[in-house]
Amino acid sequence: MAHQADEKRMLDDRGYTGTLIRGANPLLLFEKPVRDRIVESMYWKEQCFGLNAATLCDRAVELENIGGIYGAAQKPSKFLCLAFKLLQLTPERDIVLHYLRQQEWKYLRALAAFYIRLCWQPKEIFETLEPFLADYRKLKRRAREGFALTYVDQFVDDLLTKDRVCATSLWKLPPRTQLEDLDVLEPRISPLGEELEDIDADRQDGRTEDDSGSDVEVLDDGHGLGNGHDHDNDTDVDGD
């Protein structure tokens, strides 16, 4: 079973017959304007043509940032184009898991996490993505204007909590508590585990001693950012 080199057949009016994600054509998970921008971009036409799950790795290891749409002309990021390609290819479970679990390339891992969040069932999403809340590597995120710093665990957390990541409306994920109540998932055991309990215990003790400032130090540098005082160094005698 070979797949097509480009996305035209999948987006055709002739109808889609193939793997269904959420009961529909996988490519329709992205919104129409975003799809149009991706398909018209030079990166898609030149570099994403004729990729399969193995050659996609070539492109993915060259990724330098994650992101959605940027700029005035709403240019799609390469990350978004490759995510679209993954949706077109719909690779098998174990391939996606391999992308996610490999240690070498963090952007490939981010790509796999994004795909999993879009396509898999809630139970699997939580179970697969939660271990990666321990990955502290930095990621460069391309915002609409300029760049921002984020981390792999921050990105995974955004995927699990936010509604819109990387120019895509994510499918509504039931909250973890709901799944725990339904006995579908076990309650979460944080990797911090004992440290969290210690901190909680400290905080309890700290409150009973009525010294609420024990954990917090107030730095008094003389330039209090009080209400309405502006910061010009005027040499007035009266201290406004």
Partner: protein
């Protein structure tokens, strides 16, 4: 026929310029065509009996290759500022080699690198090259192998980077030397091309542009 007499009584000349026909080849071609017609007739008959419609399809050539991803990008930056001489009548519309980006397989010229890339992705071009437009599905082994290969490539490149300052300076010096040699060679070539090997002599006039 070779010794027919012409009107003025002389023999017919050498007729080797006339086209000769390989009868055996054409007989074979005719036999093939008859055979194909028979096959098609049979297929149509069978389709008509079973109530289905007969579709005449062009078959995929046996040696059609599968499409693969581009290995390299189209190099446009190097052509910036260069001049190409093309003959005026060689391109009519898109057909023929004219000014712009040319596709050899289809004999089409495009004004834009974007149009060229779009054309290279099209069915028309893929058929001309002999590719099917379908991509082979990759298995988990393929993916693992590919990632291992990429890792090896990256490790080699980082291995080649030397962090010691001394060696880096030396390497840079060598690179500079080489570039200087290149420049010198080019300059000499340019000079040789001009008259008497004198190069283009810059005419300098005193007080040029200044009205005294």
């Amino acid at each position: 026929m070779a010794d027919r007499k012409g009107a003025y009584g002389d023999k017919a000349n050498d007729t080797s310029f006339r086209k000769t026909w390989d009868r055996a080849e054409y007989a074979e071609k005719a036999a093939n065509r008859d055979h194909k017609l028979k096959e098609e007739g049979r297929a149509r008959y069978e389709a008509a009996i079973s109530g289905k419609k007969y579709y005449k399809r062009a078959s995929t050539p046996e040696d059609a290759k599968e499409t693969e991803a581009r290995k390299s990008r189209l190099d446009v930056a190097s052509r910036v500022g260069t001049t190409m001489l093309v003959s005026a009548g060689s391109a009519i519309g898109k057909r023929g080699k004219g000014a712009g980006f040319y596709c050899e397989a289809c004999d089409l010229t495009f004004k834009d690198n974007r149009q060229l890339v779009e054309h290279e992705n099209s069915k028309q071009h893929l058929y001309a090259i002999g590719q099917t437009g379908e991509v082979r599905r990759a298995t988990l082994e393929d993916v693992k192998e590919r990632l291992a290969w990429l890792k090896r490539k990256r490790d080699e490149e980082t291995g080649r980077e030397v962090l010691d300052l001394g060696t880096r300076l030396e390497v840079q010096k060598e690179i500079d030397e080489r570039e200087r040699e290149e420049k010198r060679r080019k300059r000499n070539e340019k000079r040789r091309k001009t008259k008497d090997g004198m190069g283009i002599v810059k005419q300098e006039v005193e007080n040029d542009g200044i009205i005294c």
